[in-house]
């Protein structure tokens, strides 16, 4: 009769499509060998098994150790689309571990992935973009992507892709530009500001959020600020300040605050009437919204005309001084200081 101790192993044949796992250390070498098998069903089974295994970090390390990445690279070019989809999913799960990310950089898998950007199958493209999104989270990955010239391609893909994939592309671009200045230069060279401006008015909240996040990243370097002023993005941003989603508001305020550092940006923001919404946002409880709004007001307050107007609203800012978050306290203190400055 069955004992009541739960074994460490899962029952052997849960999913019919998965190839059975060998015991202990033999599991991964066997899977690696199966990945090269010319039979389609065998490869699919192996990929399905790998997909379930790779959630475990130890198994992920073993996979890399046994050189499965080489096989996966070969499989990326396979003719069958289900194999490609499964391979990209496995790669996505691998990027969740840092050994996986390092291995992907080392084996130059990103180059092979970039060929899949034009893939007709949606699921495969989605997974590819997921992988790229994960890889854009850290400097070495972004450096790799920039060197492969992926940033201009991604900029072009923004307009061309379907909605959910567009989100991923936008977030990838945002992280790239945030992490590495070279990526920002490359993106600016491919007119990313124009592309982003179109996305700012999209109906889907997620896309707007990602677009504004990318905007805030691109407005950090000085050329970005100039471009933002040139492309007349500020009126759109001022509109977005009244959007429903908190993150979008925060990002819009952030972009305004970045752009208002340069003189041209200040004047354009004032022309677009940014003061009133920003004052409204200062009262918001969300930390990012409040902080960004305060900083934006600080930048705008360097213009004498704006200072006059803001002097009337000093009490509002002073209420913010007692906020528990240190960042908001500092921001409000700086704002008050700048507004009350006289030459």
């Amino acid at each position: 009769m069955a004992g009541s101790r739960i074994s460490e192993q899962l029952p052997p044949l849960i999913d019919r499509n998965q190839s059975p796992l060998a015991f202990g250390q033999r599991a991964l070498p066997r899977l690696a060998a199966e990945l090269q098998n010319p039979e389609l069903t065998v490869r699919q089974g192996a990929l399905a098994a790998l997909r379930d295994l790779i959630h475990d970090p130890e198994r992920a390390y073993e996979t890399i150790y046994h050189g499965c990445l080489e096989r996966l690279k070969v499989l990326l070019k396979d003719e069958d689309s289900s194999i490609r989809t499964a391979t990209t999913e496995v790669l996505y799960l691998l990027t969740a571990h840092s050994v996986g990310r390092e291995a992907i950089l080392r084996e130059d898998v990103v180059g092979c992935l970039s060929e899949l950007l034009d893939e007709p199958v949606d699921a495969c493209r989605r997974n590819t973009h997921l992988v790229l999104k994960m890889m854009s989270g850290f400097p070495a990955g972004v450096a790799c992507m920039v060197s492969l010239g992926l940033v201009p391609r991604l900029v072009m893909k923004v307009a061309a892709e379907t909605e959910d994939i567009r989100e991923l592309v936008l977030s990838t671009l945002g992280s790239c530009m945030r992490v590495d200045t070279q990526a920002a230069q490359a993106a600016l060279a491919s007119d990313v500001v124009t592309v982003l401006r179109e996305q700012l008015t999209h109906s889907s909240t997620n896309i707007r959020r990602e677009a504004t996040a990318a905007m805030i990243a691109i407005s950090v370097p000085p050329q970005g600020k100039v471009k933002v002023c040139e492309e007349e993005v500020l009126p759109v941003l001022v509109q977005l300040l009244s959007d429903e989603d908190l993150e979008i508001k925060a990002n819009a305020a952030g972009t305004i605050m970045n752009t208002a550092v340069i003189t041209k940006g200040k004047f354009q923001s004032l022309q677009a009437g940014a003061l009133a919404p920003l004052l409204h946002l200062v009262e918001c409880e969300h930390r990012a919204v409040c902080a960004n709004a305060l900083r934006a007001l600080t930048c705008l307050a360097e213009v004498p005309r704006a200072r006059e107007q803001l002097l009337q609203h000093l009490p509002l800012l002073q209420t913010r001084l007692n906020h528990p978050e240190p960042i908001i306290q500092r921001a409000s203190a700086t704002a008050i200081q700048v507004i009350s400055w006289t030459p």
Binding site: S4, H55, V220, V261, A288, R295
Partner: protein, 340 residues
């Protein structure tokens, strides 16, 4: 190997008796005929020290048996057997052979075939091969199922509800494993997602802080830059103003100096001009330049005319004088006709 035992001879009194009495090996005599010696039946003893058949000295080197050695008892038996068989064969042959009488002198018996047709005599008997093949198996109909006749008694058993096992208690561990594993898996997945979510939240918080701080830094930088530029501009302006003032002062000084220097320029200039005759009376000048030269020219021409006339007169006189002279040279009439 059949080695029939020697017949065991027993003497009547039980003592052992040799079947062949031991005797010394006969020596080989060099100079005497051995047949002669055997007929005599006297044994010639030799000195074993000088017997060639005795192996002396080194026993390591192989030595071959000398020619006439005592044969092995087994060998002996075999040879006896062989002799007996040969003898038997010979007797058999003899029996066959001696059916026909011997040939008369001068004639010879030969074997001859007296049949009509000669046939080859050989040891091989004639043989002929004959083949035989059974019919192929026809399709057999399936053998009917062999159901042996029923024998014995029928017996039945019925298992009641709780007799073999009690389901509820037995299923407990199985259920535990199944549900436990499922829960474990689900928990793992939820944990993973939670981990990811908390990582994201942390990232986001960091990003917000970073953004705010970056913008502050940039704003201050910008401010600094503006102030610095303003300062530079003002300094430049100031410098320009100073420069202008300096230039103006220089100009004024230069002008004053120039004025002074050129104060008495005018009188001296006038004096010089007057000295050089640039101020003149026009009538006087006119007379001087126009009238007097003309006058002189006229005078000149008049004088010239006079001179011409005088010269002409001189020439005339000269000519006349010359001709007069010639006339005077001529001894002809003394006519003096002045040809005037």
């Amino acid at each position: 190997m059949a080695s029939p035992l020697q017949p065991y001879n027993q003497a009547p009194n039980g003592a052992y008796v040799f079947s062949s009495r031991p005797r010394p090996a006969p020596t080989r005599l060099k100079y005497k005929n051995p047949a002669v010696i055997q007929n005599e039946e006297s044994y010639v003893y030799g000195n074993i020290m000088y017997d060639r058949r005795v192996v002396r000295g080194n026993t390591y080197a192989p030595h071959t048996l000398p020619l006439r050695s005592q044969p092995d008892p087994a060998e002996l038996q075999k040879q006896q057997e062989a002799r007996r068989r040969a003898l038997a064969r010979k007797r058999a042959k003899e029996q066959f052979r001696l059916l026909t009488p011997e040939a008369v002198e001068g004639r010879k018996h030969t074997d001859v075939q007296t049949e009509l047709y000669l046939e080859e005599l050989s040891d091989h008997p004639e043989d002929a091969s004959v083949g035989c093949q059974t019919d192929a198996f026809l399709d057999k109909p399936a053998t009917p199922l062999f159901i042996p006749a029923k024998s014995g008694k029928d017996v039945a058993t019925q298992i009641e509800e709780g007799e073999l096992f009690h389901f509820d208690t037995e299923v407990q561990p199985v259920l535990e494993v199944l549900i436990g594993k499922t829960m474990e898996q689900a928990l793992l997945e939820v944990l993973e997602e939670e981990e990811l979510a908390s990582l994201r939240a942390q990232q986001r918080a960091f990003q917000e802080l970073r953004n705010a701080e970056i913008v502050e830094v940039q704003r201050l930088e910008e401010q600094e830059r503006r102030h610095r530029e303003e300062k530079i501009r003002r300094l430049k302006q100031q410098r320009e103003v100073l420069e202008n003032e300096r230039v103006i002062a220089e100009k004024i000084a230069a002008r004053v100096f120039a004025q002074q220097y050129l104060a008495d320029l005018l009188p001296s200039v006038y004096n010089t001009l007057r000295d050089q005759g640039y101020f003149y009376d026009p009538v006087q000048r006119d007379i001087e330049t126009g009238f007097l030269p003309w006058l002189m020219a006229e005078v000149d021409s008049a004088l010239e005319k006079r001179e011409i006339v005088l010269t002409m007169l001189d020439t005339l006189i000269y000519d006349v004088a010359n001709s007069r002279q010639e006339t005077w040279k001529d001894p002809l009439p003394l006519l003096v006709t002045p040809e005037i």
